[in-house]
Amino acid sequence: MDSCNCIEPQWPPDDLLMKYQYISDFFIALAYFSIPLELIYFVKKSAVFPYRWVLVQFGAFIVLCGATHLINLWTFTMHTRTVAMVMTTAKVFTAVVSCATALMLVHIIPDLLSVKTRELFLKNKAAELDREMGLIRTQEETGRHVRMLTHEIRSTLDRHTILKTTLVELGRTLALEECALWMPTRTGLELQLSYTLRQQNPVGYTVPIHLPVINQVFSSSHAVKISPKCPVARIRPAGKYMPGEVVAVRVPLLHLSNFQINDWPELSTKRYALMVLMLPSDSARQWHVHELELVEVVADQVAVALSHAAILEESMRARDLLMEQNVALDLARREAETAIRARNDFLAVMNHEMRTPMHAIIALSSLLQETELTPEQRLMVETILKSSNLLSTLINDVLDLSRLEDGSLQLDLGTFNLFAVFREVLNLIKPIASVKKLHVSLNLAPDLPEYAIGDEKRLMQTILNVVGNAVKFSKEGSISITAFVAKSELLRDSRTPEFFPVPSDNHFYLRVQVKDSGVGISPQDIPKLFTKFAQTQSTATRNSGGSGLGLAICKRFVNLMEGHIWIESEGLGKGCTAIFMVKLGIPERLNEPKLPFMPKVPTNHGPTAFPGLKVLVMDENGVSRMVTKGLLVHLGCDVTMVSSSEECLRVVSHEHKVVFMDVCVPGMDGYEVAIRINEKFTKRHERPIIVALTGNTDKVTKENCMRVGMDGIILKPVSLDKMRSVLSDLLEHRVLFEAI
């Protein structure tokens, strides 16, 4: 051989095996060169690859391996030493890098493995979160359902709608098979099936309320799972294999009275309804907690909605009732007004129309009485008169009373003579009383004021009525009238506890007592006396007639005068006493008398010019004595009459201020009397004034009078004014010598 430095391959190159090796090496090289290319390509593509150094290393390793295999291709044929050198170098490098890579991979691979683990973990976690999110979404949806349900329930105030809506919505939300509501019956002892979801007609099936399962549900405020076999749950048609779970919850039925202001409703109410919810059978579904909560919330909302509905119903009912009452009241008021108007019209007509003919009858009958009549005719006329007077009285009484009750009557106040009122009454009564042989006496207390302010007419009417009654109901005996000023200790009478008169400076209380010895009144009749139209039943009084209104009218007058009237009687046959007190005003004193017996200015109403002046009248002639006395009494004097000179001398005293003596009777020695009187009273101020009354005033008479020491002479007949002026002159000047 030559020294070509060539290296012979060991095997002949044309060997088939060698051929295959040649091809494989070629492909290996190819692959080895493409792997890093791929690697680089994909790494470049991916964003994240933490192990670039490893990649480089691995790339180098692969490339060198590829290079090795590539160079190996040349070693199949004769090849130079250079190729062999390159081959060897490549192999050496490849060996180094591969060892380094191998060493490095020991570190890298566990890391790569752990990445995988983490990835798995994260995946699990993500799955779990997904599940949970699903759950939350379900819950949120449930909440939405509740809100919507509540809204539906609360949007109506109609009870049926509320309940129906509840069941429907619950059924929809929870996908229930059946939902039922049991309401307590009126008696409270049973629960009645009132509403169901699927079954359109609740049968009215009832269940006693005191079942243990029901008690259990009612005693808890939560939804309670109950057995599908209990009576309340057994309402759906049978025939399923596996009934779904059943839950029951109580629905409190609140009443209006449970809601206090600023108070939560009292849950001590015992009335509950029962809501039963059934899951679909064969669904293997279970009641979840959130579903139970939903049910509880709905039950509470229903309770509230129902009570709102109940409250509204109540208030509507109350309002309707009020409206009805208002209408009725309005109608009644209008009717009452109409009635009052009708009555007033009637009274107005009655007043005039009935009185006029009555007056005509009475007037003409009384005039008829004055004419010549036969006894029979007279009797007839008297009867006519009496009857028509009774009728007239009745009319007047009724009209009076209605005016009094109307409140339209007012007192006519004025100053009047109180003594005069009593005397009038006495004078009116005396004829009748004397016919009945009754004795009437009048006692006026000394401290009773003579003048008072009040309604004279009505006071007189009252006294007359009371005294008249006394006369009417007495057949025999006596009647005594007493009048005095009521003192404060007497004012509080135990018999009239409600009457509290308060005397003051301008007023006094006049108390009048009329006692009779007549038939008396039994105690049980006394309260009826003052009522209208009521009369006592005793037969004795039946005949007296009268309308029974008199005392009623008196009572009203007395009340108007701020007083009180009552009657006391010990019983039948024991007489009775009528007592009344009225308030009268005290008139102001116009003239304060400075001297006693100062004559007042003669006015039309003031006849008592010389009150209490003690006077002696001596006159033999009865008639003229009486006339003189009348004159003097009219002037208010206190007159003593004597008819003879002896009597005169006997009676005359220093109390008599004036002595009137008639000196014109022949044979009567008036002058003698005058002398004797002058002798009797030596002191001038004690001596009475002596005045002669004579029929002629000729000179002789005058001289005689002057001679005997008389103070004055008056010509008869004496007129009232003359007497008055004479007396005033005499008392002022103590001397008058002539008055014609």
């Binding site: 003594f419 009038e424 009417k472 009348g630 009777v665 009232l720």
Partner: protein, 185 residues
């Protein structure tokens, strides 16, 4: 009431006729003025007394004038004096005038004259008595009527004074109301 007004009118007519005829004079009016609440029957009482007195005196005078033995003119004089006093007190004018006339005859002791005067006196007295009694009857009747009305009935249209003074104080009322009473002098 209307009947009271009628009564009032009746009274006024009657009493003015009395005055006009001279049966009573001003003194009678004065007497009527004395009637008030205290002495409501004054005139009637005085009149009754007068009638009694008068009758007694006239009787006495008649007896005295019948005496066959001799007429006691002194007694007659006394009677006349009394009668004159009484009649002038009461205001019976005609009676009083008759008395005055009688007086002159009795003073002259003229029996026939006295008898004539006595007759005249009797006549005047009867006339007076009749008239006054009618007047009183009216008053009594109205009073009783009124009392009946008041006791057994109820008269509530008052303002009229009460009947005892009714008749004799109607005049007062009329005057107070601004009217006038017809007077005959």
């Amino acid at each position: 009431m209307d009947f009271v007004n009628q009564l009032q009118r009746k009274f006024i007519d009657y009493s003015s006729s009395l005055h006009r005829e001279g049966i009573v004079d001003d003194q009678f009016t004065q007497l009527r003025k004395l009637e008030d609440e205290n002495s409501p029957h004054f005139v009637m009482e005085v009149a009754s007394l007068f009638f009694e007195d008068c009758e007694k005196l006239i009787n006495n005078m008649a007896i005295a004038l019948e005496q066959k033995q001799g007429v006691d003119f002194k007694q007659i004089d006394e009677c006349i004096h009394q009668l004159k006093g009484s009649s002038s007190s009461i205001g019976a004018m005609r009676v009083k005038n008759a008395c005055i006339a009688f007086r002159s005859f009795s003073g002259a002791q003229n029996r026939e004259g006295c008898l004539r005067c006595l007759q005249q006196l009797s006549h005047e007295y009867s006339l007076l008595k009749n008239k006054l009694q009618t007047l009183f009857r009216v008053s009594v009747a109205s009073r009783c009527l009124y009392v009946c009305l008041v006791i057994f009935c109820r008269e509530n249209e008052p303002a009229e004074p009460f009947p005892d003074v009714l008749v004799f104080q109607l005049e007062k009322q009329i005057v107070a109301a601004g009217g006038s009473i017809p007077r005959v002098h």
